[in-house]
């Protein structure tokens, strides 16, 4: 096979920039195109940057013109950051993915699409099996806004994949990431003066280390497989133990008061908690990573405990 030509959306995100830099080092990737409205986090070499918004239909000719064989969709927003409304997040996630897929349909060179999705689609449920397999997305109703967004993206994606059997579509379902250079909801949570928890609950949390998050993405680009693949570290960790390892005091709050108390915290300038994150803190979530290890061929280097330890050591 001649050199691979890859387009990365969301190249301005931390992981997007790292991915472009990683692919630049690999001579088997002939061409790397980065698409984003933001600049990359650091100076990139041979990556060609296109400044465009994936919500805009005008990306179709740009993507066709890039003549790539693989599209990596890395612009799914996990939680609205400062200055981004819930509405804007929904637009980027759902409308953006829809535009991107329709643009891909107009580019005859494309052979593979890899989406960095979220394991949030499984939800956090008290009655769930302790490890979700890829086929278990319809066990529980989609309860939060983000879950419904991801559900919609997955639906488009499945339909697209059925209609275009010549294109290998991979949906990577990521557990929350942690790592020394990341700022995610979980790292902000563990950096607070005290960590609010649900009184009487100690859920199992499963994370993915930033290095494994990147390596899984690279592995999926090199070896695309059809359908969904869970991406996570091996094993889980109890929430209480994680907070102790981060040397933070726990702040247990009675279930019904958790919302009001954290809302007051938000007004006082502490981090806000999305519905997904609240449910995660109450019920936790684990996924099965057999498919990632055996079919995509990436064995995570960090277990969840080791990932937390690595973050604590660097913090």
């Amino acid at each position: 096979m001649a050199g691979r030509r890859v387009l990365i959306t969301g190249v301005g995100s931390y992981l997007g920039t790292l991915l472009a830099a990683r692919l630049e080092e690999d001579p088997s990737f002939e061409r790397i195109v980065g698409l984003d409205t933001r600049a990359p986090r650091r100076q990139l070499g041979r990556t060609e940057l296109i400044e465009a918004d994936i919500r805009d239909p005008s990306i179709a000719p740009l993507i066709a013109g890039a003549e790539v064989d693989t599209v990596v969709h890395n612009s799914i927003v996990r939680q609205p950051g400062p200055g981004m409304s819930a509405r804007a997040m929904h637009d980027i996630n759902v409308i953006g993915s829809l535009q991107l897929l329709s643009a891909c349909g107009q580019s005859p060179t494309i052979r593979a699409i890899v989406i960095r999705g979220s394991a949030g689609i499984y939800g956090s449920e008290p009655h769930a099996p302790q490890f979700f397999g890829e086929e278990m997305t319809r066990m529980f109703p989609l309860r939060t806004r983000f879950q419904r967004d991801v559900g919609e993206i997955e639906n488009y994606f499945e339909t697209y994949s059925r209609r275009h059997p010549e294109i290998t579509c991979t949906m990577l379902r990521y557990q929350p990431a942690i790592g020394p250079s990341l700022a995610t909801q979980i790292t902000r949570y563990l950096s607070q003066p005290a960590c609010p928890t649900y009184l009487g609950f100690d859920p199992r949390i499963q994370l993915v280390h930033e290095a494994d998050a990147l390596d899984s993405l690279v592995a999926a680009i090199k070896r695309p497989v059809r359908g969904a693949v869970n991406v996570a570290a091996r094993g889980t960790i109890g929430l209480a133990r994680m907070i102790r390892m981060a040397h933070r005091p726990m702040l247990p709050i009675v279930g019904p008061l958790f919302g009001p108390v954290t809302d007051v915290g938000r007004r006082l300038g502490f981090d806000s908690y999305s519905d997904d994150f609240r449910r995660l803190l109450r019920y936790g979530r684990g996924v099965d990573i057999t498919r990632l290890e055996q079919e995509v061929g990436h064995r995570p280097r960090y277990s969840t405990t080791e990932a937390v330890r690595d973050w604590v050591a660097a913090a």
């Binding site: 099996p129 009487g200 279930g255």
Partner: protein, 309 residues
């Protein structure tokens, strides 16, 4: 712990705190005055406060299970005076499925099976048990059950545990077993649709029928108040001689005498994993397990004699 040891411990603890030490440090300094086993326990607790203990991917925490063992040991030896037969019939290694009768809304019978295996088995092992989903909505109960080896009663969990060569305990009567009135005690309910047999077949795990006698008397359920059950989301709301009359004290189980018998294992590996789809075989094996447990329950009831003394 001797009184002198305890006093010396308290004295050192106070000296440490007076000298401006943090509590964990003061505790560990005071621990030097304690006898060896108490010191070990204290050091373990301190280590846990630093997050330096292991739990496996299921949330099972062996360290914690060992720490709470004395409590269950007390129930086992003194409160229920459990007698065990046939513990050696449980395979010493590899996967196996324990299928037991079930009573009482709290899974005391599961904990006693667990203590029985760690005490009486030649190669002690901690069983994992499938627990009614409802327990995982509850604060404290959910966290505690998971730490001592309980998992949500899902076939996916059971299969994964067996594939990892664990010993898995199931209660095929499910909620029908826990909610039956006192008058129907020791009469086994229907064993569902035999889902546990399907899983055992698929995993090639032997099924060990287990009969527990005594668990039916700990919370004699005289009546049910479905209206209250609906409000709190419970499968049923039992009325026993002590509950809800005595409030939280009503949760204290009555001190009946217990017997646990592990019966001869039923081999499933010879049918092969595809047999899991064979309805008639599954139902036949389900019936065989149910019969074995029921017979053993009756036999042990006779052997036990009176229920409480």
């Amino acid at each position: 712990m001797s009184d002198a040891g305890a006093l010396a411990f308290m004295r050192r603890l106070r000296e440490g705190l007076d000298a401006g030490l943090e509590l964990p440090e003061a505790l560990s300094r005071g621990a030097a005055a304690l006898p060896r086993d108490a010191r070990d326990t204290l050091e373990r607790v301190l280590r846990r406060l630093e997050g330096e203990h292991e739990d496996d991917e299921w949330g099972f925490d062996e360290d914690f299970t060992d720490l709470v063992e004395p409590f269950f040991g007390f129930l086992y030896d003194r409160w229920w005076r459990v007698k065990v037969e046939g513990a050696h019939r449980v395979p010493a290694h590899g996967r196996a499925l324990l299928a037991s009768n079930h009573a009482g809304i709290l899974p005391w019978d599961a904990t006693m099976i667990s203590v029985a295996l760690t005490r009486e088995h030649p190669l002690p092992r901690h069983p994992r048990f499938l627990v009614l989903n409802w327990a995982f909505d509850l604060p404290w109960v959910s966290a505690l059950i998971r730490k001592v080896g309980g998992v949500v009663a899902s076939p996916y969990n059971a299969l994964r545990l067996l594939e990892q060569d664990h010993l898995v305990a199931v209660f095929p009567e499910g909620v029908k077993g826990t909610g039956k009135p006192f008058a129907e005690r020791y009469r086994l309910q229907r064993f569902g649709r035999g889902g546990f047999v399907e899983i055992a077949l698929r995993a090639g795990a032997p099924i060990v029928p287990v009969a527990v006698v005594g668990s039916e008397e700990i919370y004699p359920k005289l009546a049910d108040v479905p209206a209250v059950a609906r409000v709190i989301g419970a499968p049923f709301f039992p009325v026993t001689p002590t509950f809800p009359w005595l409030g939280p004290l009503g949760v204290v189980p009555l001190p009946s005498r217990w017997r646990i018998e592990f019966c001869e294992p039923i081999d499933t590996a010879r049918y092969g994993p595809d047999a899991a789809g064979d309805r008639s075989l599954v139902l036949e094996l389900t019936e065989q397990v149910r019969d074995t447990v029921q017979q053993a329950v009756y036999a042990n009831l006779l052997r036990r004699g009176s229920a409480f003394v």
